[in-house]
Amino acid sequence: MNELIILDNVTAGYNNGIVLRDVSITVSDQDFVGVIGPNGGGKTTLIKLILGLIKPVSGTIQRFDNQEGSFIGYLPQQSHIDRKFPITVQDIVLSGLMSTGKAVNRYSSTDKKQALDLLEQMGISNLAKRTTAELSGGQLQRVFICRALISSPKLLILDEPNTFVDNRFEHEMYELLQKFNEKMAIMIISHDIGTISYFVKTIACVNTYLHYHPSNIITEAQLAGYNCPLQIITHGDVPHTVLQKHDHSHDYDQEFTPHEHTHE
């Protein structure tokens, strides 16, 4: 197992205060980490640290980055994208090859073919010449996955990938991610631990502090112990195992055995 990223005792924040304290986590290849936590708990700050978008106040971040092109593929939240921006799908995918520190970016026909191949794999090669305004949320998400994958990253980071996506594609996406996981490490941010716990291998709960949970089964009692104020809710028709039995006597409307169900 090769380590890709090591955060050691990292504290980080913005002008108006500290958001993350004493965070240590190691991500190695083959990892599939679910990052959960409440809004404002520091999930996005953790991602920004790993991407190098912000610098830590204290602590160290090591990146074992020895490849050409981008070492991290990143799927941002869709909300910050201007859907009316005049850019074609093919250009968005190619932007994933934007090379480090270089100002002149030109693409060979091999690059273009690779972009089309990826779109083909996602079943949307017919959209290559379309622009973002013409795409559905699920289609745009596939385009962004292609952009993240085109540089063959060692680590793929997804920030709330299920926000604008319909249920059917959500399920498909998780299956794709499991396939990608054979070749790269994955970190996925979600507020929906019920769904992601089925797919991820480990869970990191971020709420100012980071608690690393070395399996994908997590109970409400553990969450409470981590001071992670999340409710475990199961929903949708995405199959998911949830939660082992625990000794709470609350009358939550959830079951504590592996199950499949659908409700609106």
Partner: protein
């Protein structure tokens, strides 16, 4: 028709319109795509302060305007980034401040009162060979920047955060492009004037955007619309003896309205045939 081409000022006007169409095609498409129309309006008006200062100090007013517009462009960015003043408020402040400074300096300048109307509404018919040389140089710079860095400009504009995560020189490019925006605005003040330069940067691009959706195509189509509109406006203003700058803009808006109507009719037809199916 051929007769009017024998006048030097007419040929200069046509050349100026051609160069303006090229620079505004590139920069206008960038501004419209990035939703920077308001900041461009602010830069345009702030540059009037530089024109006033130029007269007061006895230097070329366009040089004064160039300095003022670049500084105000950077000022708006820095102030909104580093302080809690919001960007649109910063634009409003610099917009009016520039105009005020311009008026005060021109008032304080002794003797000759310059023709302010030509700076407010443009005077494409009095463009000199020196102006054309400036415009030509800036056109070459703009073309070079876009040919070399088109992809980087496109990607940074579309998703700045993603570009940052790839270590792309985001800040360098934002300031480079802001400088280019400011300079293109100032140079085109000679042609379209402070009040109307914004329309050169937005109307042909918005018209192009009705038909094409790719930045590259918007640039090319808007150049064609710009030049055609400028020529039509120029000749109409010549025959009707009305101000040329205002006529050009009037033609731009007419083209936009006709194009929008065509798109509306096309969509209506498509919907009808879709229902008929």
């Amino acid at each position: 028709m051929a007769g009017i081409l024998s006048f030097d000022f007419v040929r200069h006007a046509i050349e100026a319109a051609f160069l303006a169409s090229i620079t505004c095609g590139f920069i206008g498409a960038y501004i419209v795509a990035r939703r920077m129309v308001f900041i461009s309006g602010g830069i345009t008006h702030a540059s009037f302060g530089g024109i006033g200062l130029g007269y007061f100090l006895g230097i070329n007013p366009i040089l004064g305007a160039a300095i003022f517009s670049v500084l105000s462009a950077f000022g708006i960015r820095l102030v909104s980034k580093q302080t809690d003043i919001r960007e649109d408020s910063a634009i409003g402040i610099l917009w009016s401040f520039g105009m005020a400074v311009g008026i005060i300096f021109i008032y304080l300048t002794p003797g000759y009162a310059p023709n302010l109307m030509s700076y407010l509404f443009g005077s494409i018919l009095t463009v000199t060979s020196t102006d054309l040389a400036f415009m030509g140089t800036l056109t070459l710079v703009t073309v070079a920047v876009f040919l070399l860095f088109y992809r980087t400009i496109l990607f940074i504009s579309f998703d700045e955060e993603y570009a940052r995560s790839h270590n792309a020189p985001v800040e360098t490019f934002n300031y480079l492009m802001l400088t280019l925006v400011a300079l293109v605005i100032v140079i085109n003040i000679r042609v379209a004037g402070i009040i109307l330069v914004i329309s050169y940067l937005t109307i042909p691009q918005s018209t192009a955007n009705l038909f094409v959706n790719d930045l590259k195509k918007i640039i090319i189509v808007s150049m064609i619309i710009s030049f055609t509109g400028s020529m039509t406006g120029l000749f109409l203003s010549y025959y009707w003896n009305i101000p040329s700058g205002a006529t050009i803009i009037f033609v731009f808006v007419l083209i936009f309205i006709v194009a929008r109507a065509l798109v509306y009719l096309r969509n209506l037809k498509q919907r009808k045939s879709a229902i008929a199916d």
